[in-house]
Symmetry: C2
Amino acid sequence: MYAVRYELIKECKQSGARLGRLHTPHGIIETPIFMPVGTQATVKSMTPEELKEIGSQIILSNTYHLYMRPGHELIKKAGGLHEFMQWDKPILTDSGGFQVFSLGPLRKITEEGVEFRSHLDGSRHTITPEKAVEIQTALGSDIMMAFDECAPYPADRDYVKKSLERTTRWLQRCKDAHKNTENQALFGIVQGGMYKDLREQSAREITAIDLPGYAIGGLSVGEPKDIMYDILGHTVQFLPEDKPRYLMGVGSPDDLLEGVIRGVDMFDCVLPTRIARNGTAMTSQGKVVVRNATYAEDFSPLDPECDCYTCRNYTKAYIRHLIKANEILGARLLTIHNLRFLLKLMENVRIAIHEDRLLDFKEEFFKKYYKK
Amino acid sequence: MYAVRYELIKECKQSGARLGRLHTPHGIIETPIFMPVGTQATVKSMTPEELKEIGSQIILSNTYHLYMRPGHELIKKAGGLHEFMQWDKPILTDSGGFQVFSLGPLRKITEEGVEFRSHLDGSRHTITPEKAVEIQTALGSDIMMAFDECAPYPADRDYVKKSLERTTRWLQRCKDAHKNTENQALFGIVQGGMYKDLREQSAREITAIDLPGYAIGGLSVGEPKDIMYDILGHTVQFLPEDKPRYLMGVGSPDDLLEGVIRGVDMFDCVLPTRIARNGTAMTSQGKVVVRNATYAEDFSPLDPECDCYTCRNYTKAYIRHLIKANEILGARLLTIHNLRFLLKLMENVRIAIHEDRLLDFKEEFFKKYYKK
């Protein structure tokens, strides 16, 4: 019995999108779902109570960052990541692969794993598939991700093929190293770049290894949107229906909707929290760059349709003042709003799937979102 | 009838400290009280609800900063500072004097007022007593402070004498300019540097102008503590018993206790919020520099005697991690704790006055605070 089990409730008759439930050791998640990112054992600026208030069902945290600081052994001593950060709902951790590959000249890839230097102090480290599982076991996440290589875009076919085949071998090593299967689930990651045949090859190899869930990596890495959606749609067909599907690193409203329509159940992205701290809100009427002078004397809320704490209490003029004055409360209020916006969007997506009208919902949503 | 009225409940038989109530347009404040500082229309990192949860009865905001950004006219259009920042309890605003005098070479003092250049964009401005009242009227604070000069330390006697006499003339101009007396109270400020006779002269001149409250300025500006307490005790005797007494810019636990014992009712200081953001906690066992490596694996709360959200939920190890990683939540958790620590200290001070045992309380408090 795996630690995580997917239950398909229904498929939208209009779009084919899936409504489901993910049963985890820390509770049940309704899918499709957006997962807020808590890179360093905190969703930037938010408390756990605030995350729950806006409807967060699960958060993501980053293995590379926690391994570097404060260290997985320390978090293990604290009783695991849930206890350390006081979050009692499910946690998904990535494998650290994406971050160490992003270190560029600071890292070297071998069959064994990746050697790299810390971005904090330059110290030398190696993450192997076994090490990634060891770290995530110490963190105690409900869902741990396999150690994979996310090939860059563009990349030539030979490189992508070699990379995806190594990713498959690494997945088998992750599975062999993963012992705590009753409390933690391991998800495999399909790669293959923008090559349809390689995506099929990777999907077939990865799903041949029996696991409680599968992710699609290597998309939203700089390619045009139409290519991304094409590759995504092509890849999903090779994934099993009875397992959750997680599209990694995606979080704009259009990518979420296009992903759900193509059969994806889980998403994560730093976009809503990052642009919040820079002074931009995602709203039902499109992006609002509240930092702009046009909002200096705008005493209306960020989004008239939003039910979040920020929109119930504060004006654009006040939030703009806070952002211009570099006040922490400004980052807080925009983060609350942006996360609530995406979580509410996914609530509405689930309702639309239930009512077999997700394509209609999409059209209505974008009519307002892009009208400006 | 003044907008603000002080009610003396009792004096501590052991120490002479005063227990009282300050009736304001936005509610009743129990004194002695510490006022958290919200410089730019926000107590850094905190929401109004969080401020209330830790027992904040009144906050202070800074006229100079709000005049510079976003501007008092904008705040007036927003419905005043209470509405702008969504704080419905009392607000005290300073006059902007202290900040413009701190601008050093960027400012020039004349009998009319102070000319200065903005620290934000270098633009030229003049604040006069009339202007300070105009700005604070637009902000709509419950208590506005007179425009005064806080003489530097050390300063020669002639300078301090001329300065305090100008401060008296400025106070009369503030009072003449202040029309909204039913909704906003004007407090005068006693100066006089470290010269006892000048303190007496200033106190007699300032209190000769009938106002609902008086402050003591120009202390805690670099002088030794024993001088500060000596001058404070000397000055308070010239202040009327039926009006509140506010010691400006003071907020360390020892200064608060020594001030209360000398008959002060109100205090403010950026200390607790500033050191919070730098990773230092004020606790019943003294200062805890949680940033230090010694707390890396300390899984106990900041202060075992504290009832705040931070101490109820998080360990030193987690807070240290957040501070080291420069995470906003670290600043939030320490700010909540430090403000709660001082507000709780003042709650205990009020209880000790009620029980005529403030000197005993002080001894018990500092036995623990300085034991390390």
